[in-house]
């Protein structure tokens, strides 16, 4: 037998073993449900980790404190493979009507000098005063500190519309959700 027979069986077995290693380990071209490969996910997290202790991390915490709301959206979108470029979008819906919608658009690459960070704001409600207890009148001689949620379902719908509109194509594939952490870092979330 047997040298020959062993050789016949060992070669396919070796192939199986190596293929298993490559497939599961390197990720190959396999993509998750969000269209990202393991390499994409690692590159995205590395790019976001490079922002730790930067002004961007400080502002992610500051904005959350100012609008008194955690981000309503945090999304990472792969915009280019060569060079690998990510768009990261964070959007806040304020707690009070007097505070603005705020969004941060980031473009992240391997070369940090080419990164860009754009901050935008917009008033969520028409400028005015404090909503009277009857919920219908506005006192024009006051600063509006009405809870945004008191403006009802129409306002909630507007919140969602503005959130989607400002994000552009960031919600399309390939991409994934993300999370702002207490220290201002960003964490990529797994796709379901």
């Amino acid at each position: 037998m047997s040298g020959r027979r062993i050789g016949t069986l060992a070669v396919p077995a070796l192939f199986v073993a190596v293929a298993l290693g490559l497939l599961a380990g390197c990720g190959g071209d396999a993509v998750d449900s969000g269209g990202l490969t393991a390499g994409d996910r690692k590159a995205a997290q590395t790019a976001m980790d490079a922002l730790q202790k930067s002004n961007v991390a400080i502002q992610l915490v500051n904005i959350t404190d100012t609008v008194q709301s955690v981000p309503a959206a945090c999304r990472v979108h792969l915009t280019s493979n060569e060079p690998r470029t990510f768009k990261v979008y964070v959007f806040w819906v304020p707690w009070l009507g007097s505070q603005p919608y705020t969004w941060l658009d980031m473009t992240l690459t391997k070369d940090v000098t080419k990164d860009a960070f754009h901050l935008g704001t917009a008033k969520p409600v028409l400028p005015g005063g404090r909503l009277d207890p009857n919920g219908r009148d506005v006192n024009p001689w006051t600063v509006d500190t009405t809870l945004l949620s008191r403006y009802g379902p129409a306002q909630a719908r507007k919140n969602r519309e503005v959130l989607r509109a400002r994000g552009g194509d960031v919600f399309s594939k390939p991409g994934a959700g993300c999370q702002v952490l207490r220290n201002g870092s960003l964490r990529l979330l797994p796709n379901a």
Binding site: L14, L20, N55, T121, T145, V180
Partner: protein, 214 residues
């Protein structure tokens, strides 16, 4: 079947098993290292961000009193009265720790109406506000006019403690005397990567002092 043949089969089977095991172990190890499934901290400063809101007093489910709003001052305003009736010039300065302010709007004090903008030292400034009063009935009516400036790109201060950020001026005509400076609100900005300090270290402070004042 002889004992020699049986041993050979056993050896083959063991060899195949060993190879598969090596492959599987390689897969797990490489996946753990490169596949992003390594353990990450999720507590303390690595926990998802949260906010602590003030308690809102309610009575039978209704909000009795709305909470006070937080104030963020990214811009400072100074006002100068110009020759002529109700003519003014305001100077807006970037005092933020954000970066470059690209656009902003300025609201006059309550009760003052801005009639027209007569000039600005940077960007494009124009009257803006709410239009479409009464739906489409009075399309051209402008309620609560304020001044919106775009493409201004006011540079950030080197330290928020110094007030040396970029500034610009806007001239306008109001309908009455201005009892206060109004308020400026940032609309958009380009964040800088490096944090902008809020105080100077000893070395930096001595460099900032003008000569002869030491």
């Amino acid at each position: 079947m002889g004992p020699g043949r049986a041993h050979s089969k056993l050896a083959i089977a063991l060899g195949v098993l060993a190879l598969v095991a090596v492959g599987a172990v390689t897969a797990v190890v490489v996946a753990a290292r490169g596949g992003g499934t390594s353990k990450v901290a999720t507590t303390g400063e690595f926990a998802p961000i949260s906010v602590s809101r003030p308690v809102v007093p309610t009575l039978a489910g209704a909000v009795v009193q709305d909470p006070e709003s937080g104030v963020t001052n990214h811009l400072s305003t100074m006002i100068l009265q110009l020759p002529g009736v109700h003519r003014y010039r305001i100077t807006i300065t970037n005092t933020s720790n954000l970066g470059f302010i690209n656009s902003f709007e300025w609201y006059p004090p309550i009760g003052v109406r801005i009639m027209r903008v007569t000039g600005s030292s940077a960007g494009d400034c124009a009257l803006s506000g709410l239009t479409g009063f009464g739906g489409n009935q009075f399309k051209t009516v402008l309620l609560h006019p304020n001044i919106t400036c775009t493409k201004v790109n006011l540079k950030p201060p080197s330290c928020t403690c110094l007030g040396d950020g970029g500034s610009m001026s806007i001239s306008f005509v109001a309908d009455r005397e201005m009892p206060a400076v109004g308020a400026a609100r940032m609309i958009s900005a380009t964040l800088v990567r490096e944090p902008i300090p809020s105080y100077l270290t000893a070395g930096a402070a001595s460099q900032q002092l003008p000569e002869g004042h030491g």
